[in-house]
Symmetry: C2
Subunit: 130 residues, 2 copies
DNA sequence: TAACAAAGTGTTATAATATAACATTTATTA
DNA sequence: TAATAAATGTTATATTATAACACTTTGTTA
């Protein structure tokens, strides 16, 4: 059984902000939000972000250069991530669909490449924006 | 029948370079490669890139901020893109697998979002790097 | 517990990626 | 040919991300 990760001070501060946010956050917007807490430099943010990603606590939305908290408890440390992204309101929602994930994970590339992980981003209009 | 797109001068220059490249190219590396051709500013590159993406001639590899030529003739203007990416040598290969693409396209999000397009990036080690 | 190693922090500087804004030119079409 | 749309050239600036170095805290192990 893997014990609950203990986070460092900066990691906890950054994670708290990302978890409280309604949508994806950009690194510099996180930075501006924590300057009162004594974090002054981008490095401090990026280092925390890197570790949090490694731990699977957050994910990077590549198409937006932004970060969201992981909402799926069974998200196997980010080996198989999928997101739906609203092109109008910027809302991002993590998709955890075992069938979809299994199907994609089992996809075999003709050219003999063995995949370790994948990231899938869907784009469209969310219910509200339709 | 859609007639062959006629490209503007800058669009053609940028496309040529991307098509000749063996791997994904970054915007500034394209820029450095075309300065002899009279293109001097990032804007000129990014504008061409934007149009080429719109036309489906190239794709952006989001996880790398880099661009590759579209190799799949039936790539329906980038509504459904998939790539395999080698984490060691940076090689990128466009996957055109109708079954995979159909399966993912038909995925229905529970929260009522209708998807217009998706982008899937696989990561691993290619044959050579394994 | 002293010594060492590993992980985290703080800081300054800079690199890399991308867009804003505006003037001008070229191509298209009415 | 006049009006419109698309593309270009240019300068400046915004945004995202990493390098490098000195120091501190935490964990491990002799
Ligand atoms: Zn997750
Ligand atoms: Zn929306
Ligand atoms: Zn394609
Ligand atoms: Zn490789």
């Amino acid at each position: 059984m893997s014990q609950a990760q203990i986070l460092s001070k900066n990691q906890q501060i950054v994670l708290d902000i990302i978890e409280k946010a309604k949508g994806p956050l950009k690194a510099y917007s996180i930075l501006f939000n924590v300057q009162k807490k004594g974090i002054n430099a981008p490095q401090q943010i990026y280092r925390a972000l890197d570790k949090l990603i490694e731990m699977g606590k957050i994910h990077k939305i590549e198409s937006k250069n932004a970060f969201v908290a992981c909402r799926s408890s069974n998200c196997e440390i980010s080996k198989a991530t999928a997101f739906s992204i609203c092109e109008s309101c910027e809302m991002v929602d993590e998709i955890s669909d075992v069938k979809l994930s299994k199907y994609i994970s089992s996809f075999n590339h003709k050219k003999g490449m063995k995949f370790k992980r994948f990231n899938l981003e869907f784009f469209g209009l969310c219910k509200k924006c339709k």
